[in-house]
Amino acid sequence: MDDSNKLALNYKDYQSDRINDWCAGCGDHGILRALEKALAEMGLPRDQVAAFGGIGCSGKTPYYLNTYGVHTLHGRVLSFATGAKLANPSLNVIAMGGDGDALSIGGGHFINTGRRNLDMTYIMFNNGVYGLTKGQAAPTLQPGDKTKSMAQSNIQGQLNPVLLALVSGYTWVGRGYAYDVKTLTGLIVDAIRHPGIAFLDVLQPCPKYNDLHTKSWYGERLYDLSKVGHHSLISTDSEEQLAEEIRIMALIRAREWGERIPTGVFLQDLSRPEFQEQIGQLQPAYSAQPPSRQTISDEMGKSMVDLTTLFENLRVS
């Protein structure tokens, strides 16, 4: 991302005047606030930020921001966001959605987005349930869990989003907590600043439907990776062996769930080239003239494309 045009704005300047219809006490409020604060801290011009939401309670977030806002389809938020970023690299693209959105219906895009180290941020609202459809189990729920609107306890396994992000290739992977706005703000800033694909898992209590993963449940369990000496950074010049150790330590930490739940940054890998740079190497004009910035017709409205060379190979005479 690019915060060279930093503005002096207050977090309120990033709020739209739309009515927020999340439940009182919902963790989503904290995530929204942290996001506003992160944008303010970075002073990003509002017209250079595009927020994309999936479908779910979480997916409504873009409505509440006074940036560009795109409310997409269930499970597809990463595709829309990727398309926009590829076409207009100067946008700061932030994708957001629920855990059902991300890992269940959107699971294929989740793992394939990790394959592209595109400079964008994905924030997943992890509430263990399908909020907007009234509390069914999300894939983040553990086997045996039974939240209040489930008829029977969960017999499907849990997908661990952090672990999945790590093995899919995301180059910045972190976890925050919706009720800790301050730390979360820092993590979001970090994720946005990271020059590659960033995934942030946010533990988000849903007081309406998830009566297991409440404030008190999290309270005892969360700990901060930075406090336990976890080393997350692979720099451009890290030795490969060290890098591999860091990657493996990230996996080991990511497996923790239950009694002790790590938060903070699991991995930041700067050794992998950013995706749009790579495109620019294969297609040199891309950087200067990305799809959204091409002038394609002249003043007379005529096409400016010259196909002569191309025709050459296909011509007979």
Partner: protein, 648 residues
């Protein structure tokens, strides 16, 4: 109705080459076509192949003439065969004065030994041979056609390859792939193709690889010598257009790709699928098309994880103002239904290029069909406007692909550009397209900046239904888009009154399109405009219809044809007027249920008097259409006619 294949005199010449997939059939056919075209022939080529990588049967036709034929022929004049299966499948399709060039080894192979031959065809051939007291073998088939006058020549490819190995001083195995070139060169000799022209074509085809150029060059010499020495039959000469002008030799996927480049497309996402992939692959290889302001630019072509990602990424890119498209076939399009609706709801200018192939389901991935029209009309839950246009030939692929973006941006909606597999396999000499002729209409843009926190009125209620469009990244242009029903500012609304207004607004755009788009862009009238004998069709059948009309004219029967380009909104008024002056009217479609005819019924209240369909996965030809039309003309036809050919 069952088609009786008739051999007939034509002013064009059909050369067919068949053999196992993956053995280079397609490559040599293109090389040979290029050589013939260079010699001056106008040509149209057809390709049929199985959904398989190596081994199953495939064939290519080249139909050449002094002027361009409109469509392939089902019969052929010269058959070049590499394996006994090709003989089994095509021998009976060779015209009476034609000729068969086959490998000596295939001269007498029992049909029972051909593993890939369809059981049904084996039985059919055996029965036919029995009736003539001939054995069920390739030998029997050759005898059968020899009896009616077809020449056949056994080429000792084995020996020629041994000679070739010696000539280039390489192992026999290494030179085996040049069998194709041997075969093409035999044909070239018989058809008086200038040796230099073939040489040139070889040079072009094998480009950098000196050893291969040399190999194929030697193969050519050996074949020329062999033919002159051993085959006394004098084949027909390659016909020549005396003033050919500047031409391209391309097929529909290339036509579409070039049109997209000319239109300034910025982004295309795709997931591989036959027969759509070739377009994206071609674009990938040539994406950096230069603008004439000297800067090199061109679209980003992006292979993604699936078709859900493909359409939604393309929408995402379109939101930034880039001209954006995705390209697919049936199964992929099915997966795009939801994304199409999002684009419709958010008034996203998006082009979806849909190459129809045999359905339903995986169906017949490499065979043609026009079975997706009704689906394209209705894909996606709920009601939203879209535009659908279909191209009839390679040249219009170019212009239509380009104009699809104009429609998309002007009316701010998804445009589905319908093509079919038959067109993608149609390689044709066409006059040089002219990108400089293309006017670009980018639609109404919103350049005001937002003052309020409510954002720009992205979905402003206007009389035309069109709301000036801001894009992501405009200075101070913040706005919201959403698949949920929304207010002018893109706010979620469930207000009944606003809901009605938005449904009406979106629908108005289509009324506008119906009113604004000139008739010439909606349909094309071909043939004798004054005639009441009216053929109506769409897509790749255009060629067959033109061809059949020529045949009718030759028989003194005048007819006109309506080639429909704009399928939605259907030009109902124009068609109504045409139909009311038609007698009889004949709908021609390559699908099972006559989908355009159904649409006529729905929108105009009447279908055509006759419907001619083909749904074997093979394209309609003028050759097959003509007798059906004759039957209609003489009044002896049923209203529902199915074209069939068991040898395709």
């Amino acid at each position: 109705m069952v088609l009786n294949l008739v051999n007939q005199e034509t002013d064009n010449l059909s050369w067919r080459i068949g053999g196992p997939q993956g053995s280079g059939i397609n490559r040599i056919a293109r090389l040979f076509a290029r050589a013939c075209a260079t010699q001056g022939a106008e040509l149209i080529c057809r390709r049929e192949y199985h959904s398989n990588i190596m081994g199953r049967h495939s064939y290519n036709d080249i139909l050449m003439g002094a002027k361009s034929a409109h469509c392939h022929r089902e019969s052929t004049d010269i058959l070049v065969s590499f394996d006994p299966e090709t003989l089994a499948r095509h021998a009976l399709m060779v015209t009476d004065k034609g000729c068969v060039l086959h490998s000596s080894e295939d001269a007498d192979v029992p049909l029972g030994r051909l593993a890939y031959l369809d059981e049904r065809l084996r039985e059919d051939l055996t029965r036919r041979l029995e009736a003539f007291n001939l054995p069920p073998s390739t030998g029997g088939l050759l005898q059968m056609i020899n009896q009616k006058g077809v020449q056949s020549f056994a080429i000792p490819y084995g020996q020629l390859l041994t000679k070739l190995a010696e000539a280039v001083d390489k192992p026999r195995q290494w030179v085996a792939a040049a069998q194709n070139t041997l075969a093409a060169s035999v044909s070239a000799t018989l058809m008086s193709l200038a040796q230099e022209t073939l040489e040139e074509a070889i040079e072009t085809a094998f480009g950098g690889r000196k050893d291969l150029v040399e190999l194929n060059h030697q193969a050519m010499l050996i074949a020329y010598n062999y033919t002159r020495e051993h085959i006394s039959w004098k084949g027909p000469s390659i016909p020549v257009n005396e003033s050919p002008g500047e031409r391209l030799l391309i097929n529909a996927t290339q036509g579409v790709a070039l049109g997209k480049l000319a239109a300034g497309m910025g982004f295309q996402s795709y997931y591989p699928i036959s027969p759509a992939t070739d377009e994206s692959t071609f674009l990938e290889a040539h994406a950096g098309a230069p603008l004439d302001n000297g800067q090199t630019s061109g679209p980003l072509i992006f292979q993604v994880e699936d078709e859900l990602a493909a359409i939604n990424m393309a929408s995402g890119a379109a939101l930034t103002g880039a001209r954006s498209a995705t390209s697919t076939s049936g199964p992929g399009f099915s997966l795009m239904s939801e994304g199409l609706g999002w684009a419709g709801m958010n008034e996203v200018p998006l082009v979806v290029t849909l190459y129809q192939r045999g359905g339903p389901s995986t169906g017949m991935p490499t065979r043609t069909d026009q079975g997706d029209l009704q689906f394209a009309l209705n894909a996606g839950h709920g009601e939203f406007p879209r535009i659908i246009l279909a191209s009839g030939d390679v040249t219009s692929c170019f212009y239509d692909a380009a104009q699809a973006f104009d429609y998309a941006e002007h009316y701010q909606l998804p445009v589905i550009h319908l093509l079919d597999k038959a067109l993608t396999s149609t390689l044709q000499t066409i006059p040089l397209p002219e990108p400089s002729q293309i006017s670009i209409d980018r639609g109404e843009r919103d350049i005001k900046s937002s003052q309020s926190l409510q954002g720009v009125k992205r979905f402003q209620l206007t009389d035309s239904g069109i709301s000036p469009r801001p894009v992501l990244g405009d200075p101070n242009g913040q706005h919201w888009t959403t698949g949920v029903e929304h207010s002018e500012q893109g706010q979620v609304t469930e207000d009944p009154v606003l809901r009605e207004a938005m449904m009406e607004k979106r629908a108005r755009k289509l009324e506008l399109a119906a009113a604004e788009i000139p008739v010439s862009e909606k349909l094309e009238i071909l043939g004798d405009e004054a005639s009441e004998f009216t053929l109506l069709t769409w897509g790749s059948n255009k060629g067959a219809v033109l061809d059949a009309m020529q045949r009718l004219a030759d028989s003194g029967i005048s007819a006109r044809a309506v080639q429909l380009r704009l399928l939605w909104p259907l030009p109902a008024d124009e068609l109504m007027a045409i139909l009311s002056e038609s007698s009889p009217s004949v709908m021609i479609e390559a699908n099972f249920s006559g989908q355009l005819n159904k649409l006529f019924q729905q929108q105009i209240g009447r279908g055509c008097d006759y419907v001619i369909l083909k749904y074997s996965g093979r394209p309609i030809s003028g050759e097959a259409l003509f007798p059906a039309l004759m039957d209609i003309h003489t009044g002896s036809a049923e209203p529902h006619i199915v074209l069939r050919n068991s040898f395709e």
